[in-house]
Amino acid sequence: MERKTINIFDVVGGKAAVSTEDGDRLFETISAFLGKDFEVVLDFVNIETLTSTFLNAAIGQLYNKYDSPFLRKHLSTSNLQPEDKELMVKIIERAKEYFKDKENLEKDIREAFDDE
């Protein structure tokens, strides 16, 4: 399998990966290489600020297209700050739940609001 390293600093043009647009662009880039069966490495070197918004768009969105075993085989990260690794784990867990929960949406809404 061919390997492609994507430099996040280069994608966002700086030290802050914070916007949905930049996340979306990264999602498109990752998808393009995964579509060609590349092994993709996301290099977060010199990224100092990271938001859930960016990662939801870049990484969370992938779970609508690919399943977990596929992504585990094809995707990895490097140079994430320790606290950002914790955020990444939360984003992944949330994405898996989000796409699963879409089916249970009506039940959740009933539980939350039907006593109103």
Partner: protein, 289 residues
């Protein structure tokens, strides 16, 4: 001409938000009028709350606003923040207790991030906080900015901050005049949810009104987790709801006045000496996609 008397004090609390929402209600029907904001009785106005006053004045932009009877010490503080009413006129902030007022286009999160870096985190009066605490403060504010953009569907975000060095806290307020949390939750759920209940739901872990292919529902959770450790406080006012959390205790209330927008106040404990060490180091290879 409409004259509005401001109250005795505007603090960063439920009463302060309600007083400003009340001004919003009074200016909302006005068009092409002169509106006088009379500060005669006002002895204190938390500088960070200028974010909400600025948003309200912007929402009624067809009118002419006159700020009158502002006490000299108040005017100084307003000018130190470069409050836009004074046309960007500024005064030196020798004690550096304010964080500049700013009206940001929602599309310009990059320049908002630089503003936070320059005007907030590089502030000379900020205590020597750990790099991680600074990063967490900045990321929390950016999460709120993104919320305003994604959910408020507004054009601008208004922000302003104030340091209270003796109390060891920094208050930073972010306001948008866009879709309220109540409207978003009502549209999403198809239920006539109250403003109070809508905020309670929105701040819960893993809830989001998004229905597209980008997951959401983590922003408030991350901020709440951080502020609990930091011993800070978060307050939200939107539609007819008010909610706050401090010291693990959250309280929600109905506001008697309606505010067509969302105001979030984040209060950070800047003397926080927590190391924010993680319980266990995660290796890159351990991230299980």
């Amino acid at each position: 001409m409409l004259t509005i008397q401001l109250p005795h004090t505007i603090d960063s609390d439920q009463q302060g938000f309600a007083s400003l929402a009340n001004i919003y209600q009074q200016v909302k029907p006005c068009q092409f009028e002169t509106i006088q904001l009379d500060f005669q009785n006002t002895t204190w106005f938390d500088a960070n709350m200028l974010a909400m006053l600025g948003a309200i004045m912007e929402s009624a932009w067809t009118n002419d606003f006159d700020i009158v009877n502002l006490r000299p010490e108040q005017e100084k503080i307003f000018k130190k923040t470069r409050y836009s009413y004074f046309g960007g006129e500024s005064l030196p902030d020798s004690y550096q207790t304010t964080v500049e007022y700013r009206k940001s286009k929602v599309s310009e999160i990059g320049s908002f991030e630089k503003y936070l870096e320059k005007k907030l985190l590089a502030h000379s009066k900020m205590p020597s906080m750990s790099a991680l605490l600074r990063k967490k403060i900045k990321e929390s504010i950016l999460e709120i900015f993104n919320n305003a953009r994604t959910h408020g569907k507004c054009k601008f975000v208004f922000s302003c901050g104030q340091y209270y060095p003796q109390k060891g806290r920094l208050d930073f307020t972010i306001v948008d005049i866009g879709n309220t949390i109540r409207k978003n939750v009502r549209d999403y759920s198809g239920r006539k949810v109250s403003g109070k209940k809508a905020i309670e739901w929105a701040v819960r872990e893993n809830t989001t009104t998004r229905k597209d292919n980008i997951p959401g529902g983590l922003g408030f959770t991350l901020i709440r987790d951080f502020l609990r450790k930091n011993k800070g406080k978060i307050q939200i006012t939107s539609a007819d709801g008010y909610w706050f959390e401090k010291n693990d205790k959250s309280v929600s209330k109905k506001l008697d006045v309606f505010f067509k927008g969302t105001a979030v106040n984040l209060e950070f404990n800047i003397n926080d000496t927590s190391s924010y060490c993680l319980s266990s180091e995660i290796e890159d290879m351990d991230i299980a996609f």
